[in-house]
C-alpha cells in the first residue's frame, strides 16, 4: 500500500523539519547528557579507577534522564496546536503514526546520545575495549526508552504537573533496560561473556516495538477524549 508508506514518510519528514527548525529543543537533552556525566568526576574526584567503575552506570542513568527530559516534546506541541487531533482523525492506523513519531523522536534524541557517548566514555576513563559495547548497548537500549516514554507521554498529555508525573510512570519501567545496558558495559570491563545482556536488550526492544505503539495509541485516544 503505497498510500500508507507515503503517510509514514510525510509524517517523518514533517517531524524532523519541525524539530530542526527548533534546534534548541534537540540540543537541550544532548547538552544535559554531557553536563550530568561531566559533573560526576567533580563530585567524586578524578581518580581514574573510581570513574571507570561507575562509568557504565553513570552514562546509562544520564541517558535515561536525558530521554525523560525530551519526552514532553514528543506529543505536547502537537497536542497544544491541535495537530494531534487531526492525526487521530486521519484514515491511517494511529498505532503506525505513533511508531513513526517515536522513530523521529529517537533520531533526534536517542541517536545523538549514542553518537556522543564515546566522548563521555573517554572522559570517564572507560577502557577502549568497552567503547563498542557502550555504543551498541545504547543503540539497542535508547529506542526502548523512546518507545516506553511515548506511552508515558501519551498518558500524561495535557495534565497539570505532567512533566514530573511522566518520570514517575516511566522510570520504573526503564529499570530492566538500565540493568542490562549498564550490566553489559560493566561485564565487558570485568571480562565476562555479555551475549546474554545483548540478547535481553534485543528482546526488550522487540517487545517494546510490538506493544508500546499500541499502548501509546490507546493512551492518546484516551487523552484526546
Amino acid at each position: 500500500m503505497p498510500n500508507f508508506l507515503k503517510a509514514i514518510g510525510c509524517l517523518l519528514r514533517r517531524d524532523l523539519t519541525v524539530a530542526l527548525r527548533r534546534s534548541t529543543d534537540v540540543l537541550t537533552p544532548l547538552v544535559f547528557f554531557i553536563i550530568v556525566v561531566s559533573l560526576f568526576p567533580l563530585g567524586l574526584g578524578p581518580e581514574p579507577s573510581v570513574l571507570r567503575t561507575i562509568a557504565p552506570g553513570v552514562i546509562w542513568v544520564a541517558a535515561l534522564l536525558a530521554t525523560m527530559l525530551s519526552l514532553n516534546r514528543l506529543f505536547a506541541n502537537d497536542h497544544a496546536d491541535g495537530t494531534l487531533e487531526q492525526m487521530a482523525l486521519s484514515p491511517h492506523p494511529l498505532t503506525v503514526l505513533v511508531l513513526t513519531k517515536v522513530a523521529a523522536h529517537w533520531m533526534l534524541t536517542g541517536l545523538p546520545l549514542v553518537l556522543i557517548s564515546p566522548l563521555l566514555a573517554v572522559q570517564m576513563n572507560l577502557p577502549e575495549s568497552a567503547m563498542g559495547t557502550l555504543v551498541l548497548s545504547l543503540l539497542l537500549g535508547t529506542p526502548v526508552l523512546s518507545l516506553l516514554g511515548a506511552v508515558g507521554a501519551a498518558l500524561t498529555l495535557g495534565l497539570r504537573g505532567g512533566g514530573v508525573l511522566v518520570s514517575l510512570l516511566v522510570l520504573p519501567l526503564y529499570t530492566p533496560v538500565l540493568i542490562f545496558g549498564a550490566g553489559a558495559v560493566a561485564g565487558v570491563i570485568a571480562g565476562i561473556d555479555i551475549e546474554a545482556h545483548f540478547s535481553l536488550l534485543a528482546a526488550f526492544l522487540a517487545l517494546a516495538l510490538t506493544l508500546a505503539p499500541w499502548a501509546a495509541a490507546a493512551a492518546l485516544r484516551v487523552s484526546l477524549d
Partner: protein
C-alpha cells in the same frame, strides 16, 4: 454481554456487596485468627533461622498479595477498557491503594527479616528490587489516576498503565532464575516436593487466604462508597438515602 451489563449495574452491585461484606469480613477474621494461632503457637522453630522465620507468615502472603492485586487491577482494567463496564473501572481503581499497602508491608517486613538473616536491612537482590519497582508502579498508577479529573478518563488511562506495568509481573516472578541472587528461590511454587514442612505451610496458606479475603472485603467497601458518590444524580441513590434517614 447484556447480562453482564445488567448484573454489573451499580445499583444491583451495591445491594449485593452490602449483603456480602459482613460474611467476607467474618471469613477473613476466622482465617487470620487460625493462621496466627498455627503460625505463632503451633508451628515449630526453624532449624536454621530460629524464631525469626515467623516473619514469613506476614511477609510471604503480603508479597503474594501485592502481585495478585496488581494482576487483578490490570485484568479489571482490561475488561473495563474493552467492554466499557463502569463497575470494573471502579474495582481497578480501588485495588491500587490496598495493593500499594501490601507492597509496602512486604518491603518493610522483608527488611526486618533481612537484618537478622542476611546481616543487612536491605540487599539489592532481584526479588526485593522487583518488589520496590512494583511499589513505584503502584505509586505511579495512583498519581496518574489522581491527576485526571474526569473519573472515566482517569480509569481508562490508568488501566492502560496497569496493562503496561503487568508485563513487569513475570519479570518479578522469574527474576530469581534470571539473576540467581541472594534471596532464596521460591519455596512453594516448585513442582514436585515442596521444601517447606507441612506444619509451616498450613499457617502460610491460611494467612494468604485470609489476606485475599481481606482484600476483597476492603475493595467491596471502597467500591460501595464510590458507587454512591458517582451515582449521586440517579434516583435510586436518592431513594436509598431517604429510606435510611
Amino acid at each position: 454481554m447484556q447480562y453482564m451489563h445488567k448484573y454489573a449495574s451499580p445499583k444491583f452491585f451495591y445491594t449485593l456487596a452490602g449483603k456480602l461484606t459482613p460474611w467476607m469480613a467474618a471469613l477473613t477474621a476466622v482465617l487470620l485468627v487460625a493462621g496466627l494461632y498455627l503460625g505463632l503457637f503451633v508451628a515449630p522453630v526453624d532449624f536454621q533461622q530460629g524464631e525469626s522465620y515467623r516473619i514469613m507468615f506476614i511477609h510471604v502472603p503480603a508479597a503474594w498479595m501485592s502481585m495478585f492485586i496488581y494482576v487483578c487491577m490490570a485484568g479489571a482494567g482490561a475488561i473495563a477498557l474493552v467492554w466499557n463496564v463502569k463497575l470494573f473501572e471502579m474495582f481497578a481503581g480501588n485495588c491500587a491503594p490496598v495493593g500499594a499497602s501490601f507492597t509496602f508491608l512486604a518491603l518493610v517486613t522483608g527488611s526486618l527479616w533481612g537484618k537478622p538473616m542476611w546481616g543487612a536491612w536491605w540487599a539489592w537482590d532481584a526479588r526485593l528490587t522487583s518488589e520496590l519497582i512494583l511499589f513505584f508502579l503502584y505509586i505511579g498508577y495512583m498519581a496518574l489516576e489522581a491527576s485526571i479529573d474526569d473519573p472515566r478518563r482517569a480509569a481508562r488511562a490508568s488501566a492502560i498503565l496497569a496493562l503496561v506495568g503487568v508485563v513487569n509481573i513475570p519479570v518479578i516472578h522469574f527474576s530469581v532464575e534470571w539473576w540467581n541472587t541472594l534471596h532464596q528461590p521460591a519455596s512453594v511454587g516448585k513442582v514436585g516436593t515442596p521444601s517447606i514442612h507441612p506444619s509451616m505451610l498450613a499457617p502460610l496458606l491460611l494467612m494468604s487466604l485470609g489476606f485475599t479475603f481481606y482484600f476483597f472485603t476492603v475493595a467491596l467497601m471502597r467500591m460501595r462508597n464510590e458507587i454512591l458518590e458517582r451515582e449521586r444524580h440517579t434516583t435510586w441513590v436518592a431513594q436509598l438515602l431517604e429510606s435510611k434517614s
